[in-house]
């Protein structure tokens, strides 16, 4: 496919867009595969370019660093496994969201990628900013809707702090993923959810009460 005609062809934009989009998809897929296979430390831009069939400059034009590319590749993959939930109850929503997370990360290459990206964040402050902005805030915004819905249903007090509820649900899960001291079992998921539901229903997530 060639783009010789540089005149006023309205189809031009539509024809060229797919090519750069296809390159982007190929780069992100290659980065995602290499991240899963080798981990962030052993993944190189050269390898990603070779596998995606593009030049290195095509990658650097869009992503300033290996970390930013790995992060975008990971985010796309990860989000596709974490659907928005709306089961009709706080308990059902929290269980579904935490179960989806555990299924995705427990003993999988996605889980190892997540852990290695969090490790990178500790060692590279610039990556920390991108991590919070492009990964954590995207996932958390989705999860906070669970609390918004529970408030709308009247299950928990209207001034419950959504951030606290979400940290109480996912904090212990990240803790077990990163430290590996105990398993991300079904029993853990049920216990974690029960603790958060009981606390939120008792009004413990209303910060002004403390």
């Amino acid at each position: 496919m060639e783009y010789v005609n540089k005149g006023i062809d309205l189809d031009d934009a539509h024809r060229t867009r797919p090519r750069s989009e296809l390159a982007k998809v190929a780069i992100l897929r290659a980065a995602s595969e290499l991240l899963a296979e080798r981990g962030l430390r052993q993944m190189t831009i050269e390898d990603v370019a070779a596998r995606a069939g593009v030049g290195k400059s095509t990658i650097y034009r869009r992503w300033p660093s290996k970390g930013s590319l790995a992060l975008e590749a990971f985010l796309d993959d990860f989000l596709s496994t974490q659907p928005a939930v709306n089961t009709g109850s706080l308990e059902g929503d929290l269980r579904k969201a935490l179960s989806a997370w555990v299924t995705t990360v427990n003993g999988t290459s996605t889980g190892r990628s997540l852990a290695s990206l969090i490790a990178e964040v500790q060692l590279d402050p610039e990556m920390g900013f991108a991590w919070r902005e492009n990964f954590l805030e995207v996932v958390r915004a989705q999860h906070r809707q669970i609390v918004v819905h529970a408030i709308a249903r009247g299950e928990i007090p209207s001034d419950s702090d959504a951030n606290l509820v979400i940290d109480m649900l996912f904090g212990p899960a990240y803790h077990r993923l990163l430290h590996g001291h105990l398993g991300l079992t079904q029993e853990f998921v049920e216990g974690d959810v029960a603790m958060v539901v009981a606390g939120a229903k008792a009004g413990a997530a209303v910060l002004s009460r403390h």
Copy 2:
């Protein structure tokens, strides 16, 4: 001080012991300082030996790697800031334990060392084993006593899972330390404690109920 007399002098052992103990203390102190000043990645065994005034071989005789030395240095420092608590109530104990942790790590070099050690654990599986055995399990054993005492006082059901309660308390705190998305504020401490107390008192930490 010289040890010329190699005969049966009962005081001999007592005189020589302090020397190796002093070296150990000096090495751990030097490692602790360098870890705080530079972080694990920039700390070298050469620097530790120079600052402690010992040869590198003295260090390698006791610690097989930089990671194992950093971990022991960190553990000694860290534990001294985390006293066992026994205030007479579950709420008081959880608040005191979490507050001590937050005071020690929030915006401090100890907090940065803790984060960099956790990062290292993700990248070095051998270190992960030592981390769980020599750091996490030591701290957790102390914290589990809080749950044991609450059960003994009849505040929470006797079959409450101490590991779950401790993960629910500290997991969200580690989560904020490592991701940096929200602060380790006094408000957070109070909310976290209130959530865990309400959940545990409602029996949500009894795993067999789920």
